[in-house]
């Protein structure tokens, strides 16, 4: 017979969602406030700048297009990071996977195949396979050798950039140019909305979201991945091959990175391979992933919101005297705040607002968990 009084808290998914969403929202607000303050002090026309930041993307179809396209790309990199974060690995290699993926998509595009209808599907396939392999490398190093995946993946990023730079300069690029000739139309994603940058990539982003969600929550592979992320020792004890899971997570993530590479070089945005085409977008995926708590279904929404800010910053840069880089401050702050367990004043008030019961004091049998 049990002598204890049990704590029975309704920990449904809705309560959890509200709490996590609340925390993310507050972090974003704080970050924006800080950015506002910075702009206030450094701009000659701060309110113009802020106004542009917040409203400009909606101004014209073209800018809306830029926003949506950017969000699609942010979604894919956000998914890539979400996968590895769910497995509790810190592979930072998405950037390198994007470059390698873009490189192989380019090879398809400039080959004879690129001039047929196979240009797009094979380009994507080549990009994803190449990206997957590139993601596999730090994974296998970690699984077989225990090599720190943060360091190895970061090194591979720089190596990938150098390889692409070299190949463009020496082999692929138009002579003396840092970019290739434009790809044939059959190798470039058609625009979905004419005269904007929104292209087939958007569809792929949406498919990717659904695919990653399904894989994580409806397949045994996904369950194993999440269990490994929760407690790798337990997973081993339960008979799950943690190393296989870790490697496959990083490989799958790499394939997503490769897809993003194809979305860049074969998308309306470029339609060719330039050096440094990726513009550090891959790392923004970290922000998207952690604000979305690595949940695939939340990623596109965060990507949309963040993409909006990025567009706003670009337009603010063009039309006012505030450099777009101010958004770096926002990004950094959001990452830091969301990953902290900060307690802000009035927490109890908010807790009640969001529908969470204060915990009922228990008998000391629950104290055993403390000992």
């Amino acid at each position: 017979m049990s002598t204890e009084v049990e704590r029975v808290r309704p920990m449904g998914r809705w309560t959890e969602f509200r709490r996590e969403a609340g925390r993310s929202l507050i972090a974003v607000v704080i970050a924006l406030v800080v950015a506002f303050v910075v702009v206030l002090f450094t701009s000659k026309a701060p309110f113009d700048a802020l106004g542009t930041l917040l409203t400009a993307p909606l101004g014209r179809p073209r800018t809306i297009g830029l926003w949506i396209d950017d969000a699609a790309k942010l979604t894919v990199t956000g998914l890539a990071f979400s996968l590895v974060f769910q497995a509790r690995q810190f592979s930072m290699g998405v950037q390198g996977q994007v470059y390698i993926g873009g490189l192989f998509a380019t090879y398809v595009a400039v080959s004879p195949i690129g001039q047929t209808w196979l240009g797009i599907p094979l380009g994507i396939l080549a990009a994803m396979v190449a990206g997957g392999i590139y993601g596999f490398l730090p994974g296998i190093a970690k699984a077989r050798l225990g090599a720190n995946e943060i360091v190895s993946s970061l090194m591979l990023n720089y190596i990938a950039i150098d390889i692409v730079n070299y190949l463009v300069r020496v082999q692929l690029g138009a002579p003396g140019m840092l970019y290739t000739a434009p790809f044939p139309a059959t190798s470039v994603y058609p625009a979905l909305v004419p005269n904007t940058r929104i292209d087939l990539g958007l569809i792929f982003a949406i498919i990717a979201v659904l695919a990653v969600w399904f894989a994580l929550y409806r397949t045994s592979w996904g369950l194993k991945l999440r269990l490994v992320g929760h407690n790798a020792r337990f997973a081993a004890y339960a008979g799950i091959r943690s190393s296989v899971i870790m490697v496959s997570a990083m490989t799958a993530s790499g394939a997503l990175g490769g897809l993003l590479g194809s979305m860049f070089v074969q998308g309306q945005i470029f339609g060719k391979l330039n050096v440094l085409f990726e513009g550090n977008l891959a790392f923004e995926g970290i922000l998207v992933a952690i604000v979305a708590r690595s949940r695939p279904l939340a990623v596109p929404f965060v990507a949309l919101a963040y993409g909006y800010l990025r567009q706003g910053a670009q337009l603010m840069n063009i039309r006012t005297d505030v450099p777009a880089e101010v958004i770096g401050i926002v990004t950094a702050l959001i990452i830091i705040l969301v990953s902290s367990t900060f307690k802000f004043p009035g927490k109890a008030f908010f807790a009640r607002l969001l529908g969470m019961r204060p915990d009922v004091p228990l008998s000391a049998t629950a104290g055993e968990a403390r000992q």
Binding site: S2, V8, H230, N231, Y237, I240, A364
Partner: protein, 514 residues
């Protein structure tokens, strides 16, 4: 006047857990004062408050009659209170003397004066009968010596009061006697010792005064010579405690698992065990007895498949399973309750349902073509929650919200959902309250009655004696004694074998080994 007093201490942890509620403690100078209570009674919390690791929400601590409040352990140490925790706080690669003096190093200017440190440690070690060599790396020492290093740490800082948190948990009976010699020597030299325990025979032997705690409160303070074990147990749980389950009524059946000339090695290439052989039969509980580190846990890990085997065979129903993976062994009918449920037995961040299905991902009822059948998984979880009386709000609740006893029930439910052929159990009721303990014992006994072969290890001799049908004593990786469980087998007997003081001859063992 008492040397150290705690008056009306209250402590509530964030999350609402009431660890201490109006606790009183009064320790006189020069006495050995035991604080007893079962897991969750609040003893460790009280000690942490005395040592400055935690701060009380209510009440006061008085030292030499004056109120004190320690913001951190450093202040407590400066005031003359030293604490030896159950889990040692020793840096493995540092030498003994480095560990002892860390934080209070003798130094000339900025230079760490190693020679003086070594000399001082050696002197202390002699003075208090705590023999240990100051130079080797602490990680390489056996547990009993590591404990001495811990005690030396406190003595190096001139602790007047020494708090020992379950010091005998990892010691065999004779090592406990050595510890008691050291304690008596400390007291003879004017120190005061507080120790936390729940092994009543030891408490009765060494202490002068006992404070009993139960469910966060102090329920009594008695002089040791005035009280009996039964009275103490009653104070601790509030009702009469029956400590044994029924022996198996059925004669044990066919051999389920046979370990044959097993050889296991450790990281340094030393043999953990070699030429080890024994059998477990269906319908019996075989208890592996031994001080921690003598090979029992390694054997269990080897059978489970979480550890490599360097020689010999492990046969399940006659077939060698050594080449098989953990998953394959589970598919053949091996289930296990690991020593540390938080580190190894559960994914605390995942839901109860996810934990319950995690070992059955190749079962077609739950997973087909790689896809999860969420409805079936939820239904199974619901059924198991009811069957094992797990107190939880629902199958989707994260395991983190459960108490220790209920977490262990999740582990037990998962492993015993299907009748396993062989059940490996390690420390099944560590950190589990009495009610859940009884439930778990009954569950294991039921499994045995239904034909499962059970292999059990535990640091708790009374648990082994309560549950096992047969007992094997391990010493240095070898079996030195085998018994059929009966009233004649008691902790003292087992203790002599556990420490290698005696060993049975092969003839004496044959009957119980068969």
């Amino acid at each position: 006047m008492a040397l150290l007093e705690a008056v009306n201490i209250g402590k509530v942890y964030p999350g609402g857990v009431v660890a201490n509620d109006g606790v009183n403690l009064s320790v006189d100078k020069g006495e050995v004062h035991a604080v007893v209570g079962e897991n969750g009674a609040g003893k460790s919390t009280l000690m942490k408050i005395l040592f400055g690791v935690e701060h009380p929400d209510a009440g006061q601590v008085l030292l030499d009659g004056k109120p004190v409040s320690f913001a951190n352990p450093r202040e407590a140490i400066d005031a003359g209170i030293g604490m030896v925790f159950q889990h040692f706080s020793l840096v493995p690669s540092f030498s003994v003397y480095e560990n002892v003096v860390m934080g209070a190093e003798p130094h000339s200017g900025v230079r760490f004066d190693r020679r003086t440190a070594i000399a001082e440690v050696a002197a202390l070690s002699e003075k208090f009968h705590l023999a240990v060599d100051p130079l080797p790396a602490t990680g390489s020492l056996p547990v009993g010596q590591q404990q001495r290093v811990e005690i030396l740490k406190a003595l190096y800082r001139n602790a007047r009061i020494l708090i020992l948190d379950e010091p005998t948990a990892v010691l065999a009976p004779q090592e406990v006697q050595e510890l008691f010699v050291a304690i008596r020597s400390l007291v003879a030299q004017g120190r005061t010792v507080i120790f936390i325990a729940h092994k009543l025979p030891e408490v009765l032997e060494i202490s002068d005064t006992i404070t009993v705690m139960r469910q966060g409160q102090s329920v009594g303070r008695v002089k040791t010579r005035d009280v009996t074990e039964q009275e103490l147990a009653t104070m601790m749980v509030g009702r009469e405690v029956v400590l044994r389950i029924d022996r198996s009524q059925v004669k044990a059946g066919a051999v389920t698992c046979e370990v044959d000339k097993l050889r296991l090695m450790d990281a340094r290439g030393n043999a953990v065990c070699s030429d080890l052989s024994f059998k477990v039969r269906s319908g019996e509980i075989l208890g592996l007895v031994g001080v921690e580190g003598n090979g029992q846990s390694d054997v269990i890990s080897a059978i489970a498949g979480t550890r490599s085997v360097e020689g010999g065979a492990i046969k399940l129903d006659g077939r060698d399973i050594v080449p098989l993976s953990v998953l394959q062994r589970r598919q053949r009918g091996i289930a296990g309750i690991p020593e540390d449920r938080l580190a190894q037995g559960l994914a605390v961040g995942a839901s109860v349902a996810e934990n319950l299905v995690s070992t059955r991902l190749t079962d077609k009822r739950f997973v087909r073509s790689g896809l999860l059948d969420l409805r079936a998984i939820k239904a199974q979880a619901q059924a198991l929650i009811e069957k094992f009386s797990i107190r939880v709000s629902g199958p989707q609740a994260p395991v983190a919200t459960l108490s220790g006893g209920n977490m262990q029930k999740v582990v037990v439910a998962r492993e015993l959902a299907e009748q396993p052929k062989l059940l490996l159990v390690a420390q099944p009721t560590r950190g589990v309250d009495l009610g859940a303990t009884q439930f778990i014992w009954k569950t294991i006994a039921n499994a045995r009655d239904a034909g499962t072969a059970v292999l059990l290890t535990s640091a708790d001799l009374s648990e082994l004696l309560a549950l096992s049908d047969r007992l094997l004593v391990f010493y240095r990786g070898k079996i030195v004694a085998a018994f059929r469980n009966s009233e004649a087998v008691n902790p003292e007997t087992l203790g002599t074998y556990m420490l290698g003081l005696r060993a049975q001859t092969p003839d004496e063992m044959r009957e119980a080994l068969a």
